[in-house]
Each structure stands twice: as C-alpha cells, then as structure tokens.
Subunit: 265 residues, 2 copies
C-alpha cells in the first residue's frame, strides 16, 4: 500500500532530516537554497519495509516555502498540488472501465506543518497556510528543531500555538478516540500536541548503543529519548497507531468534499 | 557618552534577550506578537555603568521585521529611521548657534543583524536588508540562537554566509587593524565572523557560580563559555575593544556620506 506525506515549512527548518529520521532512510537530498522565486512541490518515492509491511512511501517537500520576500502565494502551489491528486483520482473513479485497485494513489494522507521554534507564537504565513489546508488534508503541526527550546518555554509555546489555532478556526488532525483499543493513548496524545520534534541523520554512541542524536559541546540530544523531545510520539502516532485512519479520513472526508464541490460546479 | 545600537531580525529570534545579556539589563519588554502590519522601530534608553564609565545606552528594536506576508518594505522603516537621526544631527551642525556638545546624538553606531540559524544560508530578506544598510550603519551580522547548531554545521554555515555576503557585495563592519595595540586581536576576530551567539535572562548554578545559561534536559549551554558560543567575543569586540571605533566610523564615514548627498541635492 502507499502512504503520501507532505512536509510544509521554510527552508532549513529540518524537513528532509525529519523524513530520514521518521522513515529510517537517507534521502540524500541536496539542501535547498533560499533564493527560489516561488514554491515548488518536489516528490520522492521510496519502497520501504515498516514492521514487515511493504509500503510505498511518497514524500512531498515544499521547496522554497516562505523564502520569497512576498509570500502571498506560498500556499497556492500546495493547494494546487492537493487538488490535482484529488482530481486525478476523481477522473479514475468516474471511468466506466476503472482500475481503481491498480491506481497509483497520490492523494496526500498527512501534512506535517513545521512551525519555527521562535518560542513566541505562530507566524502570519503559518495561520494563512494552515487555514487554506485544513479542509484539504490532515494537518499535523509540529514544532521543528525543538532542541532550541527549554522545557519551560516549550510549555508556554505549545499553549500559545493551540490557542492561536482555535482562535483562527484552524482544524488540525485529531487522533481518533472512537476505537476503544486506541482511545486512551490517542486522547493522551491529542493533549500533547503540537509534537516538539528533533531529527538527526547522525548516530552517536550512548552507552553501548548507536542512537540518532545531535551532539553539542554541552550535551547530546537523543532523538528517541522521550524526555528530550516528542519524536517517538510522532512516529508512534502517524506510522503505527493511526496510519490507517489518516488514509481513511483523506478518502472519506477531504476527497469527498473535493468531489462534491467539483461535481456541483 | 552615548551608544546607540540597532537590532534587526525577525520576531522571536532573540534580540531582546541578547540586549539584556550584553548589557546586563532586564529590559522587561513585552514579547512582540507576530501579526504586526508593518515594521516599527522601538527605542529603549538606559543609564548604564560599563567598567566604571557612565553610558547612555539606546537600543532600537525592529518590531515586526520579517513577519509580514509581504516583506518588500521591511527595510524601508529602518533606513528612514537612520536617515532621520542623520538629518537631525545635520540640522544641528548647520545652525549658527550650535549646542553640539549638548546634543543628544541618536545616530546608530552599530546594527546587529540577527541571522536565523537555518544551517543553510542567508534568506532573501537578509541579503536585501543588509545591502540597504551597509552604507548607512556599521552592520555586524550574528548567528542567533547558535545553540541550535552543532560545531560541524556551524563551520559550514559561517563559510556559506561569508561567501554570500561577498558575492552580494555587502560590506559588513570589520574590526579595525591599523592600531597596533588591537590589530592582532581584531584580525583574529574578523576571521571568526559572523559570531554565533546565545543569550539568556536565566542564571544556573555551575560549580559554585551563578552563570547565564540555558538549561536543557541534555545539558546546559553556558553563554559565557567560549567553547559553547561566541558571546564573549561579541561583547569584547563591541563593548570593550571597538566601541570608540564604532562611534567614530558612524560619524566620519556613514554620516559624512549622508551629509554630502543631502547637501548636494
Ligand atoms: N537544532 C536542530 N537542527 C536540525 C534538526 N533537524 C535538522 N537540523 C539541521 O538543520 C539544517 C537544515 O535541515 P534540513 O533537513 O536540510 O532542512 P529542510 O530545508 O527543511 O529540508 C541542517 O543543518 C540540519 O542538520 C533538529 O531537529 N534540530
Ligand atoms: N535556543 C535559544 N533560544 C533563545 C536564545 N535567546 C532567546 N531565546 C528564546 O527565544 C524566545 C524569543 O526571544 P526574544 O528575546 O523575545 O526574541 P525577540 O522577539 O527577537 O526579541 C524566548 O523564548 C527566548 O527565551 C538563544 O540564544 N537560544
């Protein structure tokens, strides 16, 4: 099966490192420059094995997002990409002789929105973009480079972000709490949002194990240490516990909404 | 005497914390929000004692810089402010009955340009802004929140930044090397630019001393530890070694250039 994930965030915020960290890959992508004239969506496809399931992972990166001096249209390229995938699926669905089960579904199942760790609040571009995306894709905001923020600052920052999302009517993806087997974990996880994450392509020896970490002169941030950041929670929630729900809500909610508007035109 | 310093950088990049850290103050400024419609320059004045010299410190903050979705005019308010101070001085200088020695000189002696620690390169707004400012004020770029960057990443980042400044013909302030007593130190310091800085309003007990630091679960970044960041070098260079040169170049170079253009009009 396939899983399509979109990463939105400014250049240098850690998107490609986070994809490598989440999916244990080494995408070897050339770092993007800051001087792109507009936003381009670049997609990389990988064949992965995640807990013995073969998966086609499709990572879409927003190259140049937020870099322009005038960011007014930053979100347009993203919405266009999402709609294009919805439309391609719709065209296939409407055919008489369909091959839906063979169809390479490129609809985006999750959008990781990378929030810059300013410690203050969301930026204007974050609010505008997430508002445009929340009815088109499952938006999962994350605080990027969380090793920039102390525990006390993080608590205030998370509270501020959640308040701003509510104030601006932005509907972020909530882990489902209707299924008894996952209700308790998912409810707890919803209370920790947005996840504060750290990514790393480097491994460091801690004790007798090699772990993903960022090594500083004053200490080593261990990506998979839950006392250091929420990376493990993010991985658990989107790759293990809720991947099916992400794919389902994409089809039954976001795609349905697109289809209804498109067919009513 | 007075020292006027301008801090340019996006909201949440650590400007007010750095002013407190550099000048041992507790400016108690209310954190700025991200949703200002345009850039405003806000100035705070303090009476300080720096190594037994009484100094009037004037800190000018660029509130709202880089926050707008359209950042085209971000630099205009800054250039206008600088020119206004030059013009006020010029008007005083041209008077018949002058009181130059009583005059409250608000001309900016240094501009600390805060570079976001992306680890990649400068942003479009950085290049445009520094280019507009380099002939108007002594521009001293610094890498903000340097505790986000590992030693290896920092080395590459500094090299990239310096290359981009040269490529774009941006003239940053160089510590003077004509005076024998400071030539060696200043030359060495010019080779370390841009300074990678960390600021903190909090103190942590290290050994038996209270030191300015940022405490994380994986370790404590000590602001005044030269192995952790370049803060001590920045303070030494601008407050101790070169404050006089900063004030002098402002008057003899930047102001002179303004005066000549203004009188030629
Ligand atoms: N402090 C910190 N730096 C990170 C983290 N993840 C990546 N970086 C660094 O940030 C820089 C940009 O990362 P990259 O993944 O290329 O960002 P992208 O442009 O968003 O894809 C690199 O120097 C990374 O090593 C993180 O979690 N914390
Ligand atoms: N990681 C890190 N965070 C910092 C540093 N300096 C300030 N901060 C934090 O960044 C946030 C914004 O700082 P502030 O000084 O208000 O930024 P300003 O809006 O540019 O004035 C606060 O949560 C600070 O504690 C630093 O050197 N490193």
């Amino acid at each position: 099966f396939c899983f399509n994930i979109l990463c939105v965030g400014e250049t240098g915020i850690g998107k490609s490192t986070m994809m490598d960290t989440l999916f244990n890959t080494n995408f070897d992508s050339t770092p993007s420059s800051h001087d792109l004239q507009d936003v381009k969506l670049k997609s990389h496809t990988y064949d992965l094995r995640e807990s013995n399931v073969r998966m086609k992972l499709n990572c879409v990166d927003t190259v140049g997002f937020g870099d322009q001096i005038n960011k007014e249209d930053s979100w347009k390229a993203i919405v266009e990409y999402i709609d294009t995938q919805f439309d391609a699926y719709l065209q296939e669905e409407l055919k008489i002789k369909r091959s839906i089960h063979n169809y390479q579904d490129r609809r985006l199942h999750a959008c990781l929105y990378f929030i810059a760790p300013t410690g203050h609040s969301l930026k204007a571009i974050d609010l505008v973009t997430m508002k445009k995306l929340d009815s088109k894709v499952n938006v999962i905001p994350v605080i990027a480079k969380a090793d920039t923020i102390t525990k006390t600052e993080l608590h205030k920052f998370k509270t501020k972000i959640m308040q701003e999302l509510v104030t601006n009517g932005i509907k972020i993806y909530q882990f489902p709490t209707d299924d008894e087997t996952v209700a308790e974990t998912n409810t707890a996880m919803n209370g920790v949002l947005p996840f504060a994450i750290v990514g790393s392509n480097d491994e460091v020896k801690i004790g007798n194990k090699m772990v993903k970490a960022r090594q500083y002169p004053w200490g080593t941030v261990q990506v998979e240490n839950e006392n250091h950041c929420d990376f493990v929670k993010l991985r658990e929630m989107i790759i293990r516990t809720n991947m099916e729900d992400l794919r389902e809500t994409t089809h039954k909610r976001h795609y349905e909404l697109y289809r209804r508007h498109k067919l009513e035109e």
